[in-house]
């Protein structure tokens, strides 16, 4: 009965191969477990209806990641939750120091990521996450390669600064901050 089944897209195998990575990506983008689950679910539902658009099997991962990102952006825009942080506020790349980054607290990291506008957050997550190259990130985001590189450098500098600052605060015995003065992401997560 092979031909009865042959028309069935292999959505199940895409789920098996990529659901965990997509969930992690969604979690880092949205910062909330329930929203990450919804986004992952939604991504596969959309993928199922658009599977005929996927021409090459080896593009499946990038394709699914970009569906998820679009779903996330759509949600953020319709609920007007997008951070209105100007790109300039991310600042220039400071001089590097060879300060070591000790253990990174998971909540601190997510707080720091949540402070980043999506245009900076996505490249940094894709960069660390799933071994996407600069070129692949540029394709996903539909921006020039140079833009990806400069955003990445600035986002990294920002995270380095945030995580090092906070590590120092914790070491000094200051209560662990729930949100930095500049972030305001407490409101954001409550609204999700």
């Amino acid at each position: 009965m092979l031909w009865f089944g042959s028309a069935r897209p292999a959505i199940e195998s895409l789920v098996e191969s990529h659901y965990a990575a997509l969930y992690r990506y969604a979690y880092r983008l949205s910062g909330a477990a329930q929203e990450a689950e919804d986004l992952t679910q939604e991504t596969f539902c959309l993928a199922q209806t658009k599977l005929f658009q996927l021409r090459e099997a080896n593009r499946a991962k990038a394709w699914l990641f970009s569906i998820l990102r679009n779903a996330y952006l759509h949600k953020v825009r319709t609920s007007k939750q997008e951070k209105q942080v100007s790109l300039d506020s991310i600042g220039e790349i400071p001089d590097r120091d060879s300060e070591r980054l000790s253990d990174i607290d998971a909540a601190q990291l997510q707080n720091a990521l949540d402070e980043l506008p999506e245009a900076f957050k996505t490249p940094i997550i894709l960069f660390y996450f799933e071994e996407f190259s600069y070129k692949e990130i540029a394709e996903q985001m539909d921006v020039p390669l140079g833009t990806v590189m400069s955003r990445l450098a600035r986002a990294k500098a920002f995270l380095r600064q945030r995580l090092t600052d906070r590590a120092e605060l914790v070491e000094m015995g200051t209560p662990k901050p729930q949100a930095s003065p500049a972030s305001g992401e407490g409101m954001r997560t409550e609204g999700l």
């Binding site: 031909w3 992952t40 590097r96 980054l101 990174i104 070129k135 990445l152």
Partner: protein, 234 residues
């Protein structure tokens, strides 16, 4: 290469490096060998990437998420465009279930009587024009095969074949002994030179090629194909 340039490129030190050409990579490596300051920065960059990368990837995936996703997908129509009418979706699912019923019948595990299926199928009234309209809504407008008796139609689907979306019609006889699946291939989308009209490929599932008003119908069938088709002057 100067220190200033090198520091702009440190991000590439451990990457796939497809963005740097060979001379740039060589110059970068050469500079790092003879400049301890830049080498220390490169090492710090590497450690930062490792620490941050591990932290970014450390997200616990909820147990049970995969079956949850699969269960949700099973309730959704496949390959249906964005705005399916609820009625069309309901018919689509009903017809899909009928197809599954027939398939089970052929596996000698009859769960549903063919008479039941027939009665249900008759209610749906899927004649040729409804099928063509449905396929058009699915984004694959074609002229459906004229030589089949649409009272035997069980299932209309859009299949993926050689990277193209093609209509797939499944017919079954009342007694379930004859089953046929028809892929309608358009010459605009495929080179069909090797498929001659009337070609028969025997096997457990026989294949017949039928040229029909510009399209090529590839018919996979079991049992008596004639039982599924119209009488010539019907």
């Amino acid at each position: 290469m100067e220190c200033h340039d090198v520091r702009q490129l440190l991000a590439f030190v451990d990457r796939k490096c497809e963005e740097l050409d060979a001379p740039e990579r060589a110059a970068l490596a050469q500079h790092l060998e003879r400049c301890p300051e830049c080498a220390a920065l490169a090492q710090a960059e590497r450690e930062f990437d490792q620490a941050l990368g591990a932290a970014v990837r450390a997200v616990a995936v909820p147990p049970g998420l995969q079956p949850k996703i699969l269960a949700k997908l099973a309730t959704q129509p496949r390959g249906t465009p964005w705005k399916p009418l609820a009625a069309a979706a309901a018919i689509f699912i009903a017809v899909t279930l009928l197809g599954a019923g027939i398939a089970w019948k052929l596996r000698d595990t009859p769960a549903v009587s063919v008479a039941d299926i027939r009665a249900l199928a008759d209610q749906e009234n899927w004649d040729l024009s409804v099928v063509e309209q449905h396929l058009s809504e699915q984004g694959v407008p074609v002229e459906a095969p004229r030589d089949f008796d649409y009272r035997n139609l069980q299932h209309v689907d859009v299949a993926e074949f050689r990277g193209q979306r093609v209509p797939k019609l499944t017919f079954a006889s009342r007694d379930g002994k004859a089953v046929a699946c028809v892929l309608v291939l358009s010459p605009a989308r495929f080179r069909l030179g090797d498929l001659h009209d009337g070609m028969e490929l025997p096997g457990t599932t026989s294949i017949r090629i039928h040229h029909d008003r510009g399209h090529v119908n590839v018919i996979f069938y079991r049992g008596d194909l004639g039982a599924l088709q119209r009488l010539p002057d019907q």
